[in-house]
């Protein structure tokens, strides 16, 4: 592990610790409205200023980090595993399996899932707590987000199918299922990992976009997605750079993940 990876790891750890210490660092909480100081610039009282309703931006970022850092990777894990199972297996098995999987992924890629999500939100009771609704949203995103990765993994599986070591293993009588789990899947690790890390910001951002349709995190609970919606009034960003804090944190966290990962990829390879 080189210096940069150590640094990235430390930053990630710091972010996680800060978000866990949110209750202590920002005792006012994410929902308290200081209405006399709505839209205020950073001050001693509010380190990153307040949002339009007078809520402390720093507190909202800390609490939002908890939710997004927990749920987005969970969704990414679900989708990557599904992609590995479906895409990787179909690619490895080849023939009719591969064709069927390709057809299904193509179909999945082109369907308007938005309507399914809207239908699911409509089926959820109105009095469901904000935390439950955001968990449902992220799980759905995870279940629906496997398709793009599956195509790539299908190709990866197919290339492994004809590789020498798989032929050798097959010749020496290794069972197919064992071959897939022990030899093929680990060799797809670099692509899988890349897919996993790519998915995390994608899910965070999808949640932000769904928020506009009422499917994201419900008020007053914050998430990175809902915090990013503050960027909608972009015209004023130059005057109020502190509004960029959630975006900056997102970039820092995802980048740190990538730096730490580049090490693991080399290990896996």
């Amino acid at each position: 592990m080189n210096f940069w990876q150590k640094l990235a790891g430390c930053i990630l750890l710091l972010v996680v610790c800060l978000s866990l210490a949110a209750g202590w660092l920002a005792p006012a909480g994410y929902a308290y409205q200081d209405r006399e100081n709505a839209g205020a610039p950073p001050s001693h009282q509010h380190w990153l200023g307040t949002d339009d309703l007078g809520r402390d931006r720093f507190a909202r970022i800390l609490y939002g980090t908890r939710i997004s850092l927990l749920l987005a990777p969970a969704a990414a894990l679900i989708s990557t595993l599904l992609a590995a199972m479906i895409g990787g297996f179909a690619g490895y098995a080849g023939g009719i399996w591969q064709r069927a999987a390709t057809a299904i992924t193509d179909l999945f890629l082109s369907l308007p899932w938005l309507f399914l999500l809207i239908a699911v939100r409509a089926l959820m009771p109105l009095n469901i707590s904000p935390l439950e609704s955001v968990t449902v949203t992220f799980s759905l995103l995870g279940l629906l987000g496997w398709t793009a990765a599956a195509r790539v993994l299908c190709a990866a599986g197919a290339s492994l199918r004809d590789s020498d070591f798989v032929c050798q293993a097959r010749a020496s009588g290794v069972r197919n299922s064992r071959l897939f789990w022990i030899h093929v899947l680990p060799n797809m690790a670099p692509v899988l990992l890349a897919q996993f890390w790519i998915s995390i910001p994608v899910f965070i951002l999808s949640e932000a976009n769904l928020g506009i349709l009422g499917l994201g995190v419900a008020e007053p609970l914050p998430s990175w997605g809902s915090l990013l919606r503050e960027l909608e009034g972009m015209i004023s960003i130059g005057d109020e750079p502190w509004k960029l804090a959630p975006l900056a944190l997102l970039v820092v966290v995802v980048t740190c993940f990538q730096i730490v990962l580049s090490n693991q990829q080399e290990v896996a390879a």
Binding site: Q33, R35, L126, G211, G214, A218, P220, G233, I235
Partner: protein, 547 residues
């Protein structure tokens, strides 16, 4: 064109010529005015118009018999030189202006008015403008006594009959076909010259327009108007700042403040508009919500207590940055004639609200309000997703009500889902929405206040009024609709407004201010609260050349 150039240009003009001289000097100028429509116009047929974009196009291209002056709110003769409404409010006689021509050069006659009315009142057309005239069953008769004289007879009295002609753009009896509605012909100051779907509508001056200014020059002054179809408010704002657009209508309060901080002379706050934001509880008997909640929602004391516990001043100050006024009742004070001046502002009194709830059997238990059966008082408040201001209001209300122990769950739904819950399944507890009001007359809201109506949102389509106060509102609304004396009508409607404030079926929250912006190049603009705020006098607007 930069702001700096704009500024020096204005200083020069002001110094050298004075404002009035500048206007007349520029009056010959012509030029193109540009601004945005926020949605695609759904129709160019002036008789089928219902969306904002089509209303704007109809205003600029349509010729009407009578116009409501957007500034004074009084009626003014347009294509009709004079008119007379019969005592029973069933017929109206027009003396039409002679020598007026359509944009294709053909003459305007009483035939065209008769054709327009027949087509408008065709039940198969389902025109919102036509439906407003339909107070009784039977056909509308038109009697033409001379090419410039005619009478329209309605089967039943129509209250505020003359005012409604402000919405009726006269179409040509010889050239009008629905599919060619884009091509007119038109009687208004402008004609539709080009329509690029999704992109823009180009209006050009109508060479045959009948009006002239005090100096006898032909109106309109402008050569053309380019309407950009632009749903994104950020882009509209950017276009305006870059000098690519000259007007912004219905400006958001955020953008208003941003523009005001840079160039305060470009923005205009005309004060409270007619639009209101309100919340209401579901009082539908068959609604799929628990009975104990229905009992709260149907209790006047509960609704009044909730209304008292909402801090409207904060809604205006925090959410709208001061560009809104606490709502007093169904009609905004901006509606000069119909607003009931006896109504008093609802003061924020959480303690009094809690006391009156306790008198009704509710009690506080560990910071949570409970009803007499021990149920926690909690409800969900739905609003449409993507509307920042409504979401902000909902979150503020959530915290206000928390102070009296009421838990509110804010839910944002996309608009079609919300409408389905509101009008078909009735599966909701409370809704926060707004009402865009373009009409001044209460008759336009018959479908809201009558208990049998579809848009009687808190409890629509009642066979017989379920409460005494709704029965009273029904009676008063019908009485005002059939009375011809405006003062009598006002008396009836004042009482309706008072009942609504007493009973709080709609908890009126705020009236948004009418905010607009206009470039310093536009001369003669005088933004008002009524639609269309900035271009109501489009025919008299001029645009200074940028160089």
């Amino acid at each position: 064109m930069t702001r700096c150039q704009n500024f020096s240009f204005r200083v020069l003009l002001g110094a050298a010529l004075g404002l009035s001289a500048a206007i007349s000097a520029l009056a010959q100028g012509g030029g193109q005015l540009r601004f945005c429509l926020h949605t695609e116009p759904k129709t160019f047929d002036p008789l089928q118009v219902e969306d904002d974009a089509s209303v704007s196009i109809r205003y600029l291209t349509g010729g009407v018999l009578i116009r409501v002056n957007r500034q004074t709110q009084a009626l003014e003769p347009e294509l009709a030189e004079s008119w007379k409404v019969s005592k029973d409010a069933r017929q109206i006689t027009f003396k039409l202006r002679s020598g007026v021509r359509f944009s294709d050069g053909s003459p305007f006659t009483a035939e065209d008015v008769a054709f327009t009315m027949q087509r408008l009142m065709d039940p198969a057309l389902h025109s919102p403008t036509g439906d407003a005239f339909r107070t009784g069953s039977g056909k509308v008769q038109t009697r033409i006594t001379s090419p410039t004289q005619m009478t329209i007879v309605f089967p039943a009295p129509v209250a505020g009959l003359d005012r409604m002609f402000d919405q009726v753009a006269i179409v040509s009896s010889h050239a009008f076909r629905q599919e060619s509605a884009v091509n007119g012909p038109f009687l208004g100051p402008f004609v539709v010259a080009e329509y690029k779907p999704g992109s823009s509508v180009l209006l050009r001056r109508n060479a045959y327009y009948w009006k002239t200014d005090a100096q006898g020059r032909k109106l309109p002054y402008l050569d053309s108007i380019l309407l950009d179809i632009q749903p994104n408010r950020d882009i509209e704002m950017l276009h305006f700042r870059r000098g690519e657009d000259e007007l912004i209508n219905a400006l958001d309060s955020d953008y208003f403040d941003k523009l005001a901080s840079m160039s305060p002379e470009l923005v205009h706050d005309a004060g409270a508009s007619l639009d209101s934001e309100q919340m209401w509880f579901n009082q539908v008997a068959k609604a799929p919500i628990p009975d104990y909640k229905k009992a709260w929602f149907r209790s006047t004391a509960f609704r009044r207590a909730i209304s008292e516990a909402i801090n409207r001043e904060d809604l205006c100050r925090v959410v709208f940055h001061g560009h809104a006024q606490p709502a007093l009742g169904p009609f905004s004070p901006a509606n000069k004639f119909w607003f009931d001046s006896k109504l008093k502002p609802q003061t924020y009194m959480p303690d009094a609200a809690l006391k009156s709830l306790q008198a009704e059997g509710f009690h506080l238990d560990n910071g949570t309000l409970k009803d007499s059966h021990g149920n926690d008082v909690a409800f969900s408040l739905i609003t449409n997703a993507g509307n920042k201001y409504r979401e902000g209001m909902a979150v503020l209300i959530q915290q206000d009500l928390q102070k009296i122990g009421v838990h509110v769950n804010v839910v944002t739904l996309d608009f079609p889902s919300l409408i389905e819950r509101m009008t078909q399944t009735f599966d909701y507890e409370a809704i926060l929405l707004g009402l865009t009001n373009v009409d001044l007359d209460p008759n336009a809201e018959m479908n809201v206040w009558l208990s049998s109506a579809e848009n009687h949102q808190w409890n629509p389509q009642q066979k017989t009024p379920e409460t005494a106060w709704e029965a009273e509102i029904d009676r008063l609304m019908r009485a005002q609709a059939s009375a011809s004396d405006p003062r009598k009508r006002k008396e009836y409607f004042d009482r309706v407004q008072e009942i609504v404030v007493e009973q709080q079926p709609f908890i009126f929250l705020i009236n948004k201010d009418a905010l607009s912006a206009s470039s310093s190049l536009v001369k003669g603009e005088n933004p008002v609260i009524l639609h269309p705020q900035t271009f109501w006098n489009a025919e008299r607007l001029t645009i200074a050349k940028a160089n």
